[in-house]
Symmetry: C2
Subunit: 375 residues, 2 copies
């Protein structure tokens, strides 16, 4: 997947929402429950056991209320006004498992659903909904030791401000005062920000659970804002993207700050970079521009590496490439096969029945984490 | 201010918004700029140098758009439809300095302003706006060493879940590995949550700046959710409030967790409790119920102590009571005078020209912090 394909995939996802491709829909089972991402005390939106979503929005004097979620090509889900002043509607089909962004259009204006929590995506805070996934256990909040997610403000001379990052420190970090840890730098996608991997991605819970199961050695994750050069919305946003500004923040400012502030192993052998979508594009560029900074590279729905790009194969311990089965899984698999044939330790992962959305990336992180910092 | 007065003050603030009490308004100066709390890239809402707010909301087919901010008794600010499909309007008068919650009513439905960032208040995520205050420097993001705000998930047997808290650790906490710190437990108000003191309150920046100026010795702040017993909205919410559930979480679960996890001085002499509004009510109840836990008590727009309530005066190092000048400053001052006469080390603080809102509480924290942990 090259940059153009990435932009197209991204645009298609943003415009359409995601819905299972089924021509004949089953009867809707009336076991709807409030979404786990509803605001406290709110009853709607609701999700049923099949993955249908039912909306209820109060707007007694409105003329039309639509929801962006559903069959995007046909305009999402149009709600109908009830006698009670509420607008009601159910998606025409079941939604893919996992997390979806959405918004309302009320009389031509775009608003969030007052019932749902908001998540930063599409360069705005959007409503979010979660369709319970059959494998949701790996990112569930469990009774295990929990790591912390710290907001840090690090000095950035290149942008003349203090910039925000979130740092996941694993359980035990506070107590084991002499222990050092490897670090994964983990980037969000276009229109998202440094909150995405904790809020939408549950990166901290994925790590807590893997560590509790003994599946991985604990490491630190650092997440910061990747749209340093203020990409504007629009079809050419990604095409005009320049990596320099963010590369400087990441490699000249954030990494030294993290190494000076947290108990890291401050070397290439204990440093990984991964990113989803645009964050994959950034990972691709920065890992190749700065071959002495990271030993581990991962692109999550964010393009591929070609064998020709990895000139010194001894310098790369792992290349991980993933996407959802509704994206371009053959592109991922073929790229990994080519890398393997060229002697690169490359791993492909395809998330079943997901598209360019966060369940793909939660699963990707869950697959990636045990492969990192093996040496 | 007793519980009933607190509930009335709170209800009045929620219903009305806050606006300077001026009968003759000055001419509106046309120097509006985007609010500092606008979402990235958004041009509206805007604020001018006098504190007027101008709104612009896209809803081309709506019949009415109102904003809750402005002259509450007269229904906030009604917007007018322009030829461009946008609704426009300016508050009838200048707003008080500081942070205000607000929302839109579009054709009878309540939505947030798509231009503004959201803050948790009134048991929902509300739009927020900031009127630059003349003294905003004390909570500004400056080029000084910054502490971190950590999300922790602590085990809570009494509520059978992992609960969230945010922990401010001061600059240098990571590096000075043998240093221990006192702790302030700092509670939000009714309808808010554990995000309020960092997001709306800038507690971390207030601390960073005080520490950089050498005004205080560094301490840790812990902020968690205080509506443990699931108070429902409505006029009787506070009247039916029971402290037991939250008291158990705070004193039996959170404090031991913090003392086991962070480098604290785990004793009464190095522990303070403060809260705003309902959080003051909680502070009042818990400090009196558990006289061996905290040495320092602070109520921010959250009632008062009477001399009779503080039975063993040797056990309390400081009682700090504050409110905005538009609340009941005489009640605060009189209560503090009575406490002082009874031999209690009591301090009153009144925030000038503010009401039951966050600038009152930012200023209160700024006044309180240097008084803590003196002994």
């Amino acid at each position: 997947m090259n940059l153009k394909h990435l932009a197209i995939a991204l645009a298609a996802t943003l415009l359409s929402g995601t819905i299972k491709a089924q021509t004949t829909q089953p009867a809707v089972v009336e076991d709807f429950k409030p979404s786990t991402l509803d605001q406290p005390g709110q009853e709607y939106p609701q999700v049923n056991s099949q993955g249908y979503v039912r909306f209820r929005v109060k707007a007694p004097k409105a003329d039309s209320v639509k929801v962006s979620l559903g069959l995007g090509g046909r305009g999402g889900t149009k709600l109908k006004k009830g006698d009670d002043g509420y607008w009601w509607g159910t998606t025409e089909g079941p939604m893919d498992e996992g997390f979806h962004y959405y918004h309302l259009t009320v009389d031509g204006g775009v608003f969030n659903d007052p019932g749902a929590l908001n998540y930063y995506g599409s360069v705005r805070w959007e409503s979010g909904i979660e369709i319970p996934a059959h494998d949701q256990d790996f990112y569930a909040l469990k009774d295990v030791p929990h790591g912390n997610v710290q907001q840090v403000l690090f000095p950035s001379k290149s942008t003349n401000t203090s910039r925000r990052a979130f740092v996941y420190t694993p359980p035990g970090y506070e107590k084991e005062k002499s222990k050092r840890y490897p670090v994964l730098y983990l980037q969000h996608g276009w229109g998202e920000d440094e909150t995405a991997w904790s809020n939408q991605g549950h990166a901290n819970l994925i790590m807590d659970n893997l560590i509790a199961e003994g599946e991985i050695k604990p490491f630190i994750i650092v997440m910061t804002y990747g749209m340093t050069n203020e990409v504007k919305m629009g079809p050419n946003a990604l095409r005009n993207f320049k990596i320099d500004a963010f590369q400087t923040v990441l490699t000249d400012e954030l990494i030294p700050y993290v190494d000076a502030t947290f108990r890291t192993y401050a070397d290439k052998a204990h440093r990984a970079m991964a990113g989803l979508s645009m964050g994959g594009m950034e990972t691709h560029a920065i890992t190749l521009n700065k071959p002495d900074v990271f030993d581990y590279y991962a692109l999550l729905s964010g393009g591929v590496y070609t064998p020709a790009e990895i000139t010194d194969r001894s310098k790369v311990k792992l290349v991980f490439i993933s996407c959802g089965s509704r994206e371009r899984p053959d592109g991922v698999k073929n790229a990994v096969t080519a890398l393997q044939s060229a002697g690169v330790n490359a791993v492909a992962f395809v998330s079943e029945n997901t598209a360019h959305e966060f369940l793909t990336w939660r699963r990707s992180l869950h697959e990636l984490a045990p492969l990192l910092f093996k040496n």
